[in-house]
C-alpha cells in the first residue's frame, strides 16, 4: 500500500511521520504538497502535526481551503482512510470531516509530555491491530487539544462508538488527573460515523521506536497497513466512487 503525508507550509511533523512509515513500518510513502489536488494514488492520507499556515486566523482555518484538502475531502467522502495527528486532527475538525472543536488547553499552556491513552474501539482502520482497552504511552505536544463538542454530538459519538482513544492513567483508569488538557470526556481521538476518518492529539510517530521511549504508537500505523491488506483502502459500500478515485 501507499501512504500520503500532506505538507502544508508550517507542517513540522511531516518528516517524522514519513520516517516512521518508510523506515519503521516499511511501507511506501510520499509527501503530498498542499497546492496540488493530486493525492498520487495514496491509499491512506495522513495530515501531520505542526503549525499549518502558522495557525494564523484560527487553527486549520487557512489549511482547510488548500487545494489538497479538496482532494482529501473527496477521498474521505469516498471512504478513503484519512488520519489527522495533532494539527492534522485540528484541521479535520475545521474542515468538518470530524465533529467538534478544539479549545485551548485547560492550563492555558503548551504541554509536551508522554501521556497514556486507552484504545476504546478496534473496529477501525486505525486501531484494528490493537486490543480493546489496551493502554498506549504516546506523547502529546500542543496548545489547543482540549476537545469540545455539544451534548448531542457527544451522545452521538458515544452512541456509535466513535471515541477511539481516551486519556487514562497508565493502568487504564479514566480520571481528571490523567487528562492533560481538559478535554471533554477525556477524549484523545475520535473517528467519523463511517469510521474511515480519524484524528488524535497524541503523536504516534513520536512513539514508534523503543529508543525514543515508547513504541506503543506504531500500532496505529500498523493497523492502517493491516486494514488495507484485509479490506482495501476504500470502504466497499462506496465501491463505485472508490474506483473512480483510484482511476485518477
Amino acid at each position: 500500500m501507499k501512504f500520503g503525508v500532506v505538507v502544508f507550509p508550517g507542517s513540522n511533523c511531516d518528516d517524522d511521520t514519513h520516517y516512521v512509515i518508510s523506515n519503521v513500518l516499511g511501507q511506501q510513502v510520499e509527501f503530498l504538497w498542499h497546492q496540488s489536488e493530486d493525492l498520487h494514488r495514496a491509499d491512506a492520507v495522513i495530515l501531520p502535526g505542526g503549525f499549518a499556515f502558522g495557525d494564523y486566523l484560527r487553527i486549520g482555518a487557512i489549511a482547510r481551503f488548500s487545494p489538497v484538502m479538496r482532494a482529501v475531502e473527496k477521498f474521505a467522502r469516498a471512504g478513503g482512510i484519512v488520519l489527522g495527528i495533532c494539527n492534522g486532527f485540528q484541521i479535520l475538525l475545521e474542515a468538518g470531516l470530524l465533529p467538534g472543536a478544539m479549545l485551548r488547553n485547560a492550563g492555558l499552556r503548551f504541554r509536551c509530555l508522554p501521556v497514556h491513552i486507552r484504545v476504546e474501539a478496534v473496529d477501525t482502520p486505525f486501531t484494528c491491530a490493537a486490543r480493546r482497552g489496551q493502554v498506549l504511552e504516546i506523547p502529546i505536544a500542543h496548545n489547543e487539544g482540549n476537545y469540545f463538542c455539544d451534548a448531542e454530538t457527544l451522545a452521538a459519538l458515544e452512541g456509535s462508538n466513535q471515541i477511539l482513544f481516551r486519556y487514562t492513567t497508565p493502568d487504564g483508569h479514566e480520571d481528571a488527573a490523567a487528562n492533560p488538557n481538559g478535554s471533554l470526556a477525556n477524549i484523545a481521538g475520535i473517528c467519523n460515523r463511517e469510521r474511515n476518518v480519524a484524528g488524535l492529539m497524541p503523536h504516534p510517530e513520536r512513539a514508534s521506536e523503543a529508543s525514543l521511549g515508547s513504541a506503543d504508537g506504531l500500532v496505529i500505523f500498523k493497523s492502517v497497513a493491516e486494514w488495507f491488506a484485509r479490506n482495501g483502502g476504500i470502504a466497499r459500500h462506496n465501491g463505485e466512487n472508490a474506483a473512480a478515485l483510484q482511476a485518477r
Binding site: P9, G10, N12, C13, F51, G54, C112
Partner: protein, 772 residues
C-alpha cells in the same frame, strides 16, 4: 536617547555631537573621517555606529578571544562564520552556536527570548544545516523569598517571575512552531540578574560536509537577493543601543527597539533556503540579524574580499517613507541576504516562490571593496566594506583586579557533626535552581523531529540521534556566575569541565564547544579583568580537555543602574557518540545495582575543615539556605577531570554502566536524589566515607566526580577500569526498592526521609512558585 532616530532625516548634517549620540567615541569618529576622507552623511554614520558597536564588532573582546584554542582535526569551521562546524563522521557535520538576547528579554521578555531563538536558528541554517535542537541557558533574579533572594521585595520577585514566564513562553512560541525541539538548558537565580536577566540560546544543526554554505560573497556581477520578511522600522539600533549600552531607568522606553518574531515565516525561510541550497545556485548567504541589511551585506563582502552594491528602492518595505538610515539599520526579523550565481537567479527565486516567499534582487557583487548603497538613483552611502567589518576598532581596555578581594564575606557556619541534615536537604531540593524544571520544559516541544533520545532531565546532557547513522550527539550548556564572580579563572574553567563531564556521563566524547560570554560594562577595568580571567580559564580547560572552541558570542554591558551582573560565561559543549545505543541516562535502572562514586582526583588527600567551609560557602546550598556567596569555589582539577572523562568513556563504551550523573549543583546528595527521582520507584541508602565535615561531604560541589550504577556482576570490572584510569571508586551501596532515601556519612545517617516526599518537594516547587 531612546527614540532620537525617529527625528532623523537624510539631509541632517553630521556633527561630532551627533556621532557621540550614536555611541561613537571622539577617537572613533576621527577614524571615520580618516577612512572616508570626508564627513559621513547620516546614513553612513548610522552604518558605522552599528558595525562598530560592541555587539557587532567585538572591539573590546577580540584581543582576548584570540587566546582560545580553536583548532582540532574535527573542526571544519572555527569562529568568524555564522556558526561553528565540526565533522561528526559519515560525511556529516554539526553546526552549532550560542548567542545572547539579554537586554531585549528584559525589555520585552516574550518577544526578546523568541527572537533570540529565531536569530540563532538562522545562524545555523544559513550554513546549510537543518536545526535539530535548541538549548537555553537562562539566568533570572530571585523568584521566591527564600534566603537566596537576599531580601528581594515581593514586587521584585513577582517581576522576576513575570520575566521568567515571558522568556519561557517566548522560547516555546518560537521553537515549537518552527519545529525544532528545545531539548535542554540550565536555569539559575541570583539577585544580580534581577534587572538584567540572561537569555542565551544555542542551536545545533546537521549538514552534509560537502554541502556547507558560507557567508563569503564572490564573483563580481553576481546578484544579491533579499528574501524573507519585509523591512520595517522595528529594531533600529537594537545592536548599538540595546545590546551595547548599560541599562538605566529609561530602558523600558526602548521597547520599540525590540523586534517581533514570526516563527512560521522562519520555518518557510528554512525550508526554502535548504531547498535552494540543494540546487547549487547559491554562492553565499547570511542572515540579517543584528544591524540587519548593513551587517549581512558588508560582512559577506568583507569576508569574500569583494565589494557590494545595494539598491534600496528594491528592498521590500513594510512601511512607507522609510529612509536609507532606517532601512540599513532595521532589525526586522526573518530576513536573509544571499548571493546567487548570475544567470541562475530565476531558479532560486522559483524555490522561494514555492514556499510563498519573495526573493528580490536588491544589488550585486562588485569588484573592489566598496559597499555602495543607492537610493532614489543617488549614492546614499559609500564605505569600504573591510573598514566596517574586519578593520573595526580594537581595544585593549584597561584591566584591574577588584580593589577588595572577593569571597571574604561571612562564611557558612558548619553545623556540628552528626546534625540531621534532612530538613536543609528538603529545602535545597525545593530551591528553584535545584528543583525540577518540568514546569519549563513541558512548555517546550522537546521531541519534534524524533531524534531526542534523552529528554530534558533524563541524562546529564541532551542526547540526539543522528538519523540514518548509528551516531548520536550530546549537548549541554553550563556556567556558574557565582563562582566566576568569586574566582573568574577557576569558575570559567569549571564551566568547561562541567560541560565536558556532562557529555561524558551520557557516553559521548567531548567534541567541541561554543561559548556565550555575559559580562558587565567593558569600560570598567574590573569587568575587563573578569573577562580576561574567564577567557584564560576557558582556554586552560579547553586545552587540558582537548576541546576546541568553534565560536560564540560576547555580551557586554549587562549592567543596570551601574551594577554589573556576575561574570557569566556559558559553555555549550557538544559530544559525539559513535554508537547511539551506548547512551546512558541518570536514572537508576535496577534494584540491587551497585552505586559507585567515581572521583577523578583519585585516592584523595585529606580535606581541611577550613577549606571545606570556604568551598561550601560558594555552593548553591550556601546561597539557597543562607543567602551566602562567599569563600572560593572548589579548585578545578583538570587532570582529574580528564581521567574521569576517559574512564566514563571506557565504561560506557563497554556498556557497563546503567546510569551516570555528575556531581554539580547541590552536591552529592542532590545528584544521588536525582538518580532516584528519575527512576521508576527506586531509591538509595548510601554510605559515604568522608574526610571533610558531613555537611560539606553531602552538599559540596567539587568537580571531577560522578555517581554511576552498574549490575552487581559488572562491579569488579568497573572497579578495575576505574583503577586503570587512576580514578577513585567508592562503593556507596545498592539501589533499593525501599521507601526511604538515606545518606550516611562515616556511619552516621545525616539524611533520611521518604523518597516520595523528597521527590514531591523537588518536583512541585517551581510550578507552585510560578503559580504565585
Amino acid at each position: 536617547m531612546g527614540t532620537f532616530f525617529l527625528m532623523i532625516d537624510t539631509e541632517i548634517k553630521v556633527t561630532a555631537e551627533i556621532a557621540a549620540e550614536h555611541g561613537l567615541s571622539p577617537e572613533e569618529y576621527a577614524r571615520v573621517l580618516k577612512i572616508l576622507g570626508r564627513e559621513p552623511n547620516i546614513t553612513e554614520l548610522g552604518i558605522f555606529s552599528v558595525m562598530w558597536s560592541e555587539h557587532c564588532s567585538y572591539k573590546s573582546s577580540r584581543v582576548h578571544l584570540r587566546r582560545l584554542p580553536t583548532k582540532a582535526p574535527q573542526v571544519v569551521q572555527g569562529p568568524g562564520e555564522n556558526a561553528g562546524v565540526v565533522d561528526i563522521g559519515d560525511g556529516l557535520c554539526a553546526a552549532f552556536k550560542i548567542e545572547s538576547h539579554n537586554h531585549p528579554s528584559y525589555v520585552e521578555p516574550f518577544q526578546g527570548a523568541a527572537t533570540g531563538v529565531g536569530g540563532i536558528l538562522r545562524d545555523v541554517f544559513t550554513m546549510g544545516a537543518r536545526p535539530i535542537a535548541v538549548l537555553d541557558a537562562l539566568r533570572f533574579g530571585p523568584v521566591t523569598n527564600a534566603p537566596g533572594a537576599a531580601g528581594a521585595s515581593a514586587e521584585l520577585t513577582a517581576k522576576n517571575r513575570h520575566i521568567l514566564d515571558g522568556v519561557v513562553g517566548g522560547i516555546a512560541f518560537y521553537g515549537n512552531c518552527f519545529g525544532v525541539p528545545t531539548v535542554g538548558g540550565d536555569v539559575a537565580f541570583a539577585p544580580g540578574y534581577s534587572r538584567n536577566p540572561l537569555v542565551n540560546a544555542l542551536a545545533l544543526g546537521i549538514a552534509r560536509r560537502d554541502q556547507l554554505f558560507f557567508a563569503r560573497a564572490r564573483g563580481a556581477g553576481n546578484p544579491v537577493l533579499y528574501v524573507g520578511a519585509k523591512t520595517g522600522r522595528d529594531g533600529i539600533h537594537g545592536a548599538s543601543l540595546l545590546a551595547s549600552a548599560e541599562f538605566t531607568e529609561e530602558s523600558q522606553q526602548k521597547r520599540p527597539n525590540v523586534q517581533v518574531g514570526d516563527p512560521f515565516l522562519e520555518k518557510l525561510l528554512l525550508e526554502a533556503c535548504l531547498e535552494a541550497m540543494q540546487i547549487g545556485a547559491i554562492v553565499a548567504i547570511q542572515d540579517m540579524g543584528a544591524a540587519g541589511l548593513t551587517s549581512s551585506s558588508c560582512e559577506m563582502a568583507s569576508r569574500g574580499g569583494v565589494g557590494i552594491e545595494l539598491d534600496l528602492d528594491r528592498v521590500p518595505q513594510r512601511e512607507t517613507g522609510m529612509i536609507p538610515y532606517e532601512m540599513m539599520l532595521s532589525e526586522s526579523q526573518e530576513r536573509m541576504l544571499l548571493v546567487a550565481e548570475r544567470g541562475r537567479e530565476r531558479e532560486v527565486i522559483e524555490v522561494f516562490a514555492k514556499w510563498g516567499l519573495d526573493a528580490i534582487e536588491v544589488g550585486r557583487v562588485t569588484a573592489g571593496e566598496m559597499m555602495r548603497v543607492m537610493w532614489h538613483g543617488e549614492l546614499a552611502a559609500e564605505i569600504p566594506a573591510k573598514a566596517l567589518a574586519e578593520e573595526a576598532p580594537l581595544y585593549q581596555r584597561p584591566i584591574a583586579p577588584p580593589a577588595a578581594p572577593r569571597g571574604s564575606g561571612k562564611l557558612i557556619e558548619l553545623l556540628p557533626e552528626g546534625t540531621n541534615l534532612t530538613g536543609n536537604f528538603a529545602r535545597l531540593l525545593a530551591w528553584p535552581a535545584i528543583a525540577s524544571k518540568r514546569w519549563i520544559f513541558e512548555q517546550y516541544d522537546h521531541m519534534v523531529r524524533t531524534n531526542t533520545l534523552a529528554w530534558p532531565g533524563a541524562a546529564d546532557a541532551a542526547v540526539l540521534r543522528v538519523k540514518e547513522t548509528n551516531r548520536a550527539l550530546a549537548l549541554t550548556v553550563d556556567g556558574n556566575g557565582r563562582w566566576c564572580w568569586l574566582a573568574p579563572r577557576e569558575g570559567a574553567a569549571a564551566a568547561v569541565a562541567e560541560g565536558a563531564r556532562n557529555v561524558a556521563c551520557t557516553g559521548a566524547q567531548p567534541w567541541a564547544a561554543t561559548n556565550c560570554l555575559n559580562f558587565g560594562n567593558p569600560e570598567k577595568p574590573e569587568v575587563m579583568w573578569e573577562f580576561s580571567e574567564c577567557v584564560d580559564g576557558i582556554a586552560d580547560a579547553c586545552r587540558a580537555l582537548e576541546i576546541p572552541i568553534t565560536g560564540g558570542n560576547v555580551s557586554f554591558y549587562n549592567d543596570t543602574l551601574g551594577q554589573s551582573i556576575y561574570p557569566t560565561p556559558v559553555l555549550g559543549v557538544l559530544g559525539l557518540l559513535e554508537d547511539a545505543s551506548r547512551a546512558v541516562g541518570i536514572a537508576f535502572q535496577q534494584e540491587d545495582d551497585a552505586i559507585l562514586l567515581l572521583d577523578g582526583a583519585g585516592e584523595r588527600a585529606r580535606t581541611e575543615a577550613r577549606s571545606a567551609q570556604r568551598e561550601l560557602s560558594s555552593s548553591e546550598y550556601a546561597l539557597a539556605l543562607f543567602g551566602i556567596v562567599s569563600g572560593a569555589p572548589p579548585a578545578v582539577d583538570l587532570a582529574g577531570e580528564k581521567r574521569l572523562i576517559e574512564a566514563l568513556l571506557a565504561l560506557t563504551g563497554d556498556k557497563l554502566l546503567h546510569s551516570a550523573h555528575d556531581i554539580s549543583d547541590g552536591g552529592l546528595a542532590v545528584t544521588l536524589a536525582e538518580c532516584c527521582f528519575a527512576s521508576r520507584g527506586l531509591t538509595a541508602d548510601a554510605h559515604i566515607a568522608a574526610t571533610e565535615p558531613a555537611e560539606a561531604a553531602v552538599f559540596g560541589e567539587r568537580g571531577a566526580r560522578a555517581i554511576v550504577s552498574c549490575a552487581p556482576e559488572s562491579l569488579a570490572r568497573v572497579q578495575e577500569i576505574a583503577r586503570q584510569y587512576s580514578i577513585g571508586v567508592a562503593d556507596l551501596g545498592r539501589v533499593t526498592r525501599g521507601e526511604d532515601f538515606a545518606i550516611a556519612v562515616n556511619g552516621i545517617r545525616v539524611i533520611q526521609a521518604r523518597c516520595e516526599k523528597l521527590r514531591a518537594a523537588w518536583a512541585d516547587s517551581l510550578k507552585s512558585v510560578m503559580a504565585g
